[in-house]
Amino acid sequence: MPNRIIKWIDHRFPLTSFIKHELTGYPTPRNLSYWWNFGFLAGFVLMLQVATGLFLAMHYKPDASMAFDSIQHIMRDVNYGWLLRYMHSTGASAFFLVIYIHMARTLYYGSYRAPRELMWWTGQGLLLLLMATAFMGYLLPWGQMSFWGATVITNLFRATPFIGDEVVVWLRGDYAVGDDTLTRFFALHYLFPFLIIGAVVVHLVALHTVRSSNPSGIDLADKDNIPFHPYYTIKDFYGLGVFMIVYFLVVFFFPHSVLEPANNIPANPMVTPDHIVPEWYFLPFYAILRSVPNMVGGVVAMGLSVMIFAFMPFLDRSRIPGGAHYRPVFRLLFYIFILDILVLGYVGYVLPTSQTIAIGQVATIIYFMTFSILPFVSKAEDKWLFKRGLPPKILALIASEEEEKRKRSLR
């Protein structure tokens, strides 16, 4: 009977062939490490956020006079409301953590290089959508940090040439962040995840066209590919288990580690808190904003610090496969960059003093320096490594893969 149903469906919709093509028969490199789990984890957290967000929306009131109280209502009165909210707020942080690791892996292994540029760019688009969604969601509790975070960030659009002030009023729907701003942020916060899902579909279609990269950086012949299901479904699910342990540890025991105490004070347009800090996942970019003494310059630098990743396929001119794995200079640059981001994050977190401002400015220069010297460094490194000769291990691997492909084509 089930066979007859499947047959009936297959006659009208390519169910079996789709599953075979994209899952049970989808060839995946056999040497993927656990760093390749994070795309799947990001997809999982996306679903988690959509699900918890849907149920939160059933109890939340996007009205300036009711929003703060409705959060208290969710926390105290709604059945398991505390769980939904803590899962959603922790989920936002988890989403960024997973995405940043996913990006770091791509950078380390050079997975952004041909033919995977479109994956990198759709990923960049996804990062922007994620940032916008997180920012708008942060206004919804209508606490002091929500209010002043939204005020400062919408103010950034004053840097728009000629019509800056008008753009800010248009974004807010009021002369200051107010009821209209809150309601539209809620509407957009509900809309954007669907845009994200759409972009994820594009990301996955591109992935299934160019196939997964792998730690060796070489396109592997068929003998070194295994079906995604069951081999990688089980590996992804194992990673998911580890992720869930960490995630629920925060949800149940440290939910306030990702929430600001100042946000427990209702929004007050007349008083700014002494110390405004963005969420941790925005800190490095916020530090760059603060490091530039000129307002417009700061906004441009911050925008560039996010968008500059898109240029990676052009900036990295090395032909050595495998990214940092086989490239000592690039690897050093990678670790300096990661360290620099951590320093920027710290500078973004503390109150600005002349000392931290100076550290922030140096770190900002290093941030952009790593990108701007990359074309020359990668070219020089490429020349040096080819002159010296690639490691015997990778030469053997390239040779064996070539041999395999040649044999197949003869057959």
């Binding site: 002369y175 347009p269 700014t272």
Partner: protein, 170 residues
Amino acid sequence: MADFDDLDDTGRRDFLLKVTTVVSGAGAAAACYPFVASMNPSADLLAKANTEVNLSGITPGAMLSVSWQGKPVFILRRTEQQIKAMTANNGGLYPEQDSDRVKQPEWLVVIGVCTHMGCVPNKEGEGWTCHCHGSLYDDSGRVLRGPAPKNLEVPPYRFIAADKIMIGEA
């Protein structure tokens, strides 16, 4: 009407196609306008755009903070000393005469929104300090220390009586 030979003339069809594309494109763009405009401040918000303030309760040297269009407006009743100090110089980063910033030297009316990122500066001793990023303003609302690029904005206002002002209309 068209000659028989004209039927082979694709130039006219191409022209019609281009005109249709342009007109429908313009129509589609025009149709976006109501949606974009709907996000601007609504009529009821615009109706509340003016705020009347009674100044009689403010003692010399004291400051009153009132809400105008959802933003704080600082009204500082300046002492003779403060007026003298403020008229003596033109401020710091964005020089401006004190007399250009007030209607009556005794009353300073400025929007209490830092021109950097929109935080509300605190009255601390002489002038204001913004805690968000450390900008400093004097008792004329002029910026003395960045990162704020401009002086505190003076809203449109007028005296409707000796001790009453209307903020929102000049």
